[in-house]
């Protein structure tokens, strides 16, 4: 059982002028120390809402149901003071788009030092500088880069700074929300190396969010695939990628071809249609309107996420049919 983070039956609904938008609907997940949980899904599937709810960073218009247990403490109902400690020191987020998340007019070293100064006011200047240097080296940048401004760094270096910042207060859990999406393949490979080494060496727990199943399969131990606010498949990372059960997981995996695979040559795989409007979800399975395997029964009731194989769950009535 996962002790570090347990999300139990979590639902997040945004109130909007056009009515309630259920962004996350009954998600149960867990992460342990030294483990990477990959969350796969596309725009609007609820993965980023899920990430921000873990640190209670969701907007005020959101209503949260269910429990988010960090080391057994419920973040949803936590007192403000405890929440402050949790953010940065307990868990931190690496957002995508490092260019916009960094302050353009402050040196990156100062920005990495900021959470340390806030959370550990007793630490002296020399010690802060030493830790900033150490953090930069941990993410593969020379300590001297602390003096650089964000515009003096490349996209990959800025993303490394973001990771160093997330590690500043030695959190137990790091949530990486599409940390490599805007990066080139070579730089992406470098950043993935940094992240996986950190998990292995520092024994962190990590949630890695991406729409690229191939990237997730490489860094994660387990993968949860989300669609329209729900987890539709969960299991060991390599199996979800190489032998997906849910038709959506299969489509997501196929959309990034394996170079050299004759079946993908002149045959880009995609899914017709668009993700559903969360305000008016289709009856039954939300994926049914785009599903190549849908039958009439799919629209009757929303399928439950249930064990289909010993370590693998899927929410699809067509999985395991004889």
């Amino acid at each position: 059982m996962s002790d570090l983070l347990r999300i139990e039956d979590l639902s997040v609904t945004y109130a909007t002028q056009e009515g309630p938008v259920p962004a996350v609907r009954g998600v149960t997940l867990g992460v342990d120390r030294g483990e990477v949980l990959g969350i796969a899904g596309e725009s609007g599937c609820g993965k980023s809402t899920l990430a921000s709810t873990i640190l209670r960073l969701q907007p005020a218009s959101a209503t949260v149901d269910g429990r988010v247990l960090m080391d057994g403490e419920d973040v949803v109902t936590m007192r403000w003071g405890d929440l402050r400690t949790l953010r940065w020191a307990g868990a931190s987020i690496v957002f995508q788009g490092a260019l916009h998340s960094l302050n353009a007019v402050r040196r990156v070293g100062q920005q990495i030092a900021e959470p340390i100064r806030l959370h550990e006011p007793g630490v002296g200047d020399a010690e802060v500088d030493r830790r900033v240097g150490e953090l930069l080296e941990q993410v593969g940048l020379p300590a001297a880069r602390a003096k650089a401004y964000p515009h003096q760094l490349s996209g990959g270096q800025r993303q490394r700074v973001m990771i160093a910042m997330a590690l500043a207060c030695r959190p137990d859990l790091v949530i990486a929300d599409e940390p490599t999406t805007a990066l080139d393949v070579m730089v992406q490979a470098q950043v993935l190396d940094v992240l996986t080494t950190l998990v292995r060496e520092a024994g962190l727990g990590m949630i890695f969010i991406s729409h690229d199943l191939a990237v997730l399969a490489e860094v994660s131990d387990r993968i949860a695939v989300m669609y329209a606010g729900r987890v539709v498949e969960q299991g060991p990372a390599n199996l979800v990628f190489t032998d997906p059960l849910h038709p959506y997981a299969a489509a997501l995996g196929a959309s990034f071809p394996r170079v050299g695979d004759p079946a993908a040559r002149y045959a880009p795989a995609g899914l017709a249609g668009d993700p559903p409007d969360l305000r008016s979800l289709p009856a039954g399975c939300s994926f049914a309107p785009r599903c190549p395997r849908a039958v009439d029964a799919c629209t009757a009731a929303e399928p439950v996420l249930e064990l289909k194989r010993p370590t693998r769950a899927a929410a699809c009535i067509r999985v395991g049919e004889s």
């Binding site: 070579m186 959309s255 394996r258 995609g270």
Partner: protein, 339 residues
Amino acid sequence: MNDQIDAAENGLSLEARDVAVTFTSRGGAVATALDGVDLSVRSGEIVALVGESGSGKTTLARALAGLQPTTGGEVLVDGEPMGRRGRELKALRRRVQMVLQDPAGALNPRHTVYDSVAEGIRLHGLARGADRTEERMVADALSAAGLRPPERLFLRYPHELSGGQRQRVLIAGALALQPQLLIADEPVSSLDASIRGEVLALLLRLRAELGLGVLVVTHDLGLAWNIADRTAVMYLGRIVEAGPTEELLTNPQHPYTKALLSVVPETDRVEPVVLQGEIPDPTRIPGGCRFHPRCPELASGAAAAAGVDVDCRRALLPVLPASGGCACHLVAARQSVPS
């Protein structure tokens, strides 16, 4: 397959010959974005130009589209040097359309889909007669881009569309001018995974149905594998390897191409070669082979064993011809030794 296209009537060929583009910064530093590049693309074929940020691939695409003046070499349109006068460029821009990345930013948020697609038709004065009304042309372009029925989208604004629909509207805007070539800069990098395949399939269909040629600029090798006939790999202002996609991606020769392929996440056949550092600053292009400071073959001593390490550091490589090949001292040395 390219020969089936009647070059005089429908076809268009663009060719870069030893094209160079330099930019001078306010401080006087000269950045060499393109340092001698040969590349051709014509109607009916799909060519992928692959490289990392800073490799010069977007500059090359813009030079081929006549949007970027060159400082050396020339761009040939149907074998003739590209005219630089306003009228000549305007005519060229109808035949060669650019599709930009980031459809959210490229569409005017206050223009309806109809106006966005009709803009080019109006600028070029293409609508005339009862059978070529503006409305008809807009509708045809939207249908060709897979947005059906087109009339339902006429009055929508970009924010009401999904990412995939916006990208199709951009492609429709290009198609409305009945171009012969599309130059697409990262056409799917900002799209969701499941939409990606749909847009790529659209490019393949446009080639099959309209004989369009496509130059697609990307950092995504999977995209090249999905749709490109030929692929060229750029590094720091030069093409370092080019050839038929199948050959290039299944049997790469250049150490840089090999490294790029090895870090594509799902490639589990090979040990990943993660290059350290990033593409150098284009104001300080390394001497000799421009890839040598990061080259794993030089670092491992393989180049020295073949006796080319001095060349790697000192000897300039010739510009690769448009027909393809591999610009690498080590590969050349190995090929010249009969095995």
